[in-house]
Symmetry: C2
Subunit: 227 residues, 2 copies
DNA sequence: GATGATTTGTACGTATGTATA
DNA sequence: ATATACATACGTACAAATCAT
């Protein structure tokens, strides 16, 4: 691999090409979020360097970055591992996540434009068919879109960045456990409450509905988690 | 300087000594938060390396870490600057900060122990004397303690970490502007509402009171900010 | 627009600390 | 407990990009 050039990025020569470190950070982060690298797995610098065909220097910088995001943990002189947390702290993570999503719903109720509200309503309406067909994969995809459109509807990039970062951390633990079952229709119903309160512009109700929704999700998944 | 030894840390030989990178990260972060390094200032690697008597390698790792926290911005091949943001984004930052503090107040109302509530009440009572004496420095110190005790009272380390990180970022902009004037007594009154609602265990009221308090603070400071 | 100076980006070597037999 | 193996931490050298002239 050439030092600074990115093979997949030759289109816009004047656009600041993404550095190797950023690329490495993304790829390792993706592996963690997608469950390729599970919590507790040790990340050796030379192994990563060989795998990506670079020296250890950019690897170390990428790991420093990931350390700051909380996806990996670095113990001085003892290497880096994918972050592994106990049950208590995981519950805190879910609680914080639920509160952040509640904020997003709150702000969305206050600031979503009519067009955004309309799009949200349509998105939600599309979910009933998937529930009835028990199409879990499609529902999961729609669920993502649903939450993302609310995040965007909050019109606050800083808050959205917090939520995205938090979501990656939570996702990294989802794979260490079983899938959650039988929640499709109840999830859709909970979404319905959120949509109703956002559309009617009731921030407190929307926040409350979203919080309850996430708390339910949190309990359902946390109960399966290890340690 | 020796590679891994920390001159100021010779007491506990078995404690994992903090690496140079961590030390550098802390010191640069402190300089940014305390206003020694103002937004927009360029951070040159060699200059920092000379200043701290180390090579560029640990400097670069520390800067990567700070980049992830949002305190500095790194543009590929173009160096690192202390993060500088426009008015719009700053308002988002204040809004997010206010919502996070509101969450903390909410959880504190739900989870603070009687002892913690008692300590909070006493802390708040101590503020009236300072307001009357117009002792701004002491009031600011008490204000910190007040908010910190609420953060701790939320009993959620993940949320607290978010708030601390956010607070550092906000603080880095406080120094680029004038001091806020004449808010001592109104601040104390707003605190009073928060305390009342936390003590009575009303999460929604506590969140609302805290949010209003922070929104006031945000408006007051944001209106003085540059760009 | 080209050239030299400055700065960032990456590779690599060596020392130090940690784990294991 | 000591020695050996191995991974990490930092420093140094070189390459590439940016900036100033």
């Amino acid at each position: 691999m050439k030092p600074t050039a990115n093979p997949a990025d030759v289109s816009h020569p004047r656009m600041p090409r993404t550095s190797i470190v950023e690329e490495l950070g993304r790829r390792v982060a993706d592996d963690i979020v997608e469950g390729v690298l599970l919590p507790g797995v040790r990340l050796e610098e030379v192994a990563l360097a060989d795998r990506f065909g670079v020296s250890r220097t950019p690897i170390r910088e990428a790991l420093r970055y990931l350390e700051a995001t909380g996806l990996v943990e670095k113990r001085p002189n003892r290497g880096v591992v994918v972050t592994r947390i106990g049950r208590e702290r995981l519950l805190m993570l879910f609680e914080a996540m639920a509160e952040l999503e509640a904020i997003a719903a709150r702000l969305a109720a206050l600031k979503m434009t009519p067009a955004e509200k309309d799009a949200l309503a349509r998105l939600h309406e599309g979910s009933f068919g998937l529930v009835h067909a028990d199409d879990r994969a499609s529902y999961e995809e729609l669920n993502r879109s649903f939450h993302e459109s609310i995040h965007r509807g909050a019109h606050n990039d800083e808050l959205m960045a917090l939520i995205v970062a938090m979501h990656r951390r939570v996702a990294s633990f989802r794979h260490a456990q079983f899938a959650v079952l039988g929640r499709l229709s109840s999830s859709a119903n909970e979404h319905g409450r959120v949509v109703r309160d956002i559309l009617s512009g009731d921030p407190d109700a929307a926040a409350s509905a979203m919080r309850d929704h996430l708390v339910t999700v949190g309990d359902a998944t946390a109960s399966y988690l290890l340690v």
